[in-house]
Symmetry: C3
Subunit: 348 residues, 3 copies
Amino acid sequence: MVKTDVFKGRDFISELEYTREEIETILEVAFRLKEDYAMRRPHRLLEGKNMFLIFYNRSLRTRNSFEAGFAQLGGHANYLDADKVYTPAIKGMEKAYTTERVADVARVLSRYGDGIAIRIYGKPTGWVYGRGNEYIREFARWASIPVINMEDDMYHPCQALADIMTMKEKLGDLKGKKIVVSWAYSPSVEKPVAVPQSAMAISSFFGMDIVLAHPEGFELDPMVIEKVKENQRKFGGTFEVVHDMKKAFRDADVVYPKCWGVLRHIPPQAPQADWDAIGKLFDANKHWICDEETLKLAKPDVLYMHCLPADRGFEVTDEVIDGPNSVVFDEAENRLHAQKAVMALIMQ
Amino acid sequence: MVKTDVFKGRDFISELEYTREEIETILEVAFRLKEDYAMRRPHRLLEGKNMFLIFYNRSLRTRNSFEAGFAQLGGHANYLDADKVYTPAIKGMEKAYTTERVADVARVLSRYGDGIAIRIYGKPTGWVYGRGNEYIREFARWASIPVINMEDDMYHPCQALADIMTMKEKLGDLKGKKIVVSWAYSPSVEKPVAVPQSAMAISSFFGMDIVLAHPEGFELDPMVIEKVKENQRKFGGTFEVVHDMKKAFRDADVVYPKCWGVLRHIPPQAPQADWDAIGKLFDANKHWICDEETLKLAKPDVLYMHCLPADRGFEVTDEVIDGPNSVVFDEAENRLHAQKAVMALIMQ
Amino acid sequence: MVKTDVFKGRDFISELEYTREEIETILEVAFRLKEDYAMRRPHRLLEGKNMFLIFYNRSLRTRNSFEAGFAQLGGHANYLDADKVYTPAIKGMEKAYTTERVADVARVLSRYGDGIAIRIYGKPTGWVYGRGNEYIREFARWASIPVINMEDDMYHPCQALADIMTMKEKLGDLKGKKIVVSWAYSPSVEKPVAVPQSAMAISSFFGMDIVLAHPEGFELDPMVIEKVKENQRKFGGTFEVVHDMKKAFRDADVVYPKCWGVLRHIPPQAPQADWDAIGKLFDANKHWICDEETLKLAKPDVLYMHCLPADRGFEVTDEVIDGPNSVVFDEAENRLHAQKAVMALIMQ
């Protein structure tokens, strides 16, 4: 375990800003809190503290695991629909008496409690890739209390912690294990890329062999891929991109097939979101579904992972997600424990 | 009191699935918790627990009594607007990235806390009678924690408990007491039938003489009526249907006049909701109002009951609902105590 | 400190209904609770209590400081969007199955907890000046638990307490200090007048010299001004109205420039809201902005105050609100402590 004072007061915006040692410490704490929860042993480590959960987007797992988890730690979280407060906006996106500058919101909330967590991607960012992350960093710049990323348009670090916890529980040492982060089709084109990017990022700390699979046109952020490779140079593991789900799945220990959006047709890569072009790319790839036949190409005990909600019948068949290889509910549960660990460490 | 281990982990979806002995135990606990509350004696029986309140419909009493009551028991309830999570949907009513299958929602929430409560009827069910109940049973099927019905399109069992508590407080032994469950007019035709059905159901456990009064066309679910009669064969009491509010009220100990909808003009009885036909039935029966003149036909100390909100000036006059026979606020208060009893018993 | 039993069970609707001695006691308690908070010394004075926060309008500071503050006191507050309950309505503004009479809502909630707080002004009142206050008084009339005004269309007494706390912290004795409550331009014309009215009202208890500055047409409620003058006859201080921000600012100790609406063009002064006329008045006064040049006319250490959210670039320049004279975040923080003091005193 690292020295304990590296956490207090820190933000948790991207897993890539933490060291491997720090991530391992978070996971150790998470596993310990999971045991406490299993026994319902009180663990009110943040008694009397308050935090603010700001949602620009829908949420089931994130909202409930944060709100319930913080209560289990003895605190109280205010659930804030961004449209029911004066919607926090960065300079240039303000509207009188409807929005309030992020700088002001962050400074005010810092006076009332002990942490701020934010979810923002897609429509509320005007579909400008990176602006969600910019919002969260703007919060962090002005807040004097820790800021947590509950999914922006680049990263979903809490999901990443839950993912790696689940893999460790099922597979033990992850060194040399093969994970396939794959695109899958959904009729909804309005999808962020945070989950696959964070899944790769977290895997790159643990020596895993990463295969990124997607149809042409669904490329992820090259900067994230560069950081993944940089980690792999330190911690081991290989990285490969393939354009065929079936080919990618061969001998996989973990598959993570999931729909994501098209960066090349939204700003800043495109002058504006081109939904026609995006729709065509989606329509051309309806066969990217994780069904039993495809799953059989992987190892027999392969883990099927998904952050949920899954678009059943499109991304994945019922047989797979409800089948013996699926660990999606264990994965969802680990959100609770991972986030409690982060909160307990940084919000002291 | 029954053996205490019959409650732990159980769902509370319809009062008809509990035995009379079990219902009496819930009421005893409710009265005891009411005393505790009156003295503000701490009764934190569910310290550190979490539950999830999912609302597809508006609510004042239910939401506030559940949320405050659970806090009084030491727990924390997440209030969830169904449209702010990925709206839980049963198979066939799903929409990519907007809904999430009930099976998945139930399994995820089971990992984060200790109970799920749901309100669903009317529009969110597509006005298919029974589908609200089906939603709740689907939650219960998949959840590994207790599921509570906060009103579906068939039953409102928490209201029923509050109703029977209130009658017991005011009338003592209910054997042979006459209750009139009556339709009343409201300008809003979008009304569920859960309250009158549950009022009859709960009364049938206690030997009451039940009179169901409504204009022709407002028949309630024959299956529920059959169960009411079945209970009466065991526990005593009579059952009668009349089509005249005034006639029904004669010598009543309790009257419960309240608007409800038209089952014969919505599915499955009709191919689709026929709002014209429903509107006509409503318009033809505007004289079904509980006013002082009508109330005088009952016993002098008759209890006027209503689950609230009441459509004042339509269902009931101000003189009656604010008059000496009205017990509506005691009835509303008992929601708190009855629900706390249910939670304390099943969520241990 | 006044005798302590004057607070228990009382409503807090307007600061003008409290005596100076009582207000001073609230402030003493607020400063003490602020110290507790600074040290994170537990102060769970309302352990196990519940309150209901009803919002007809957006809120950031109010909602979060009440919800977090009440949790810090050991209680649990239900956040209620007025549109998600049966919207409480006064007689004459009811709509079947959508609204519920305030009298009924107040009586029901009184059975479930220990306090009700309400925010209502502008659109939900049909833009009839005074109707928001009427709503809150109607709640208070029927509730058997304390009612708190979280801003209506006449008063924002919690803001007033925070304002006076902040002035006392920065200036010490307020006797003879000059405060300028000034109108400022915003592109949003839908603004209440509660903040300037309450700022003048609270200042009038402490012997301050009050200058009210606004363009012609933006007159405030003469009844409030009369009460301000009445207080000043008792406690000292002068009152003056000027129609020039620059002239008003001269030698000011405190400036409070802020947009507000036009009472003469909404009911009851006008037969109906005349948004054209209001718009013209606003457009004609775009130069009413608090910039550095204007601020320099005041004393060098003048306090710049604002209740937030500020319409930056219109009401005030970034240089001023983010500059050395600005105390807006200290002011926002004091909302927390002032409200906790009120709650702790009246909700015992």
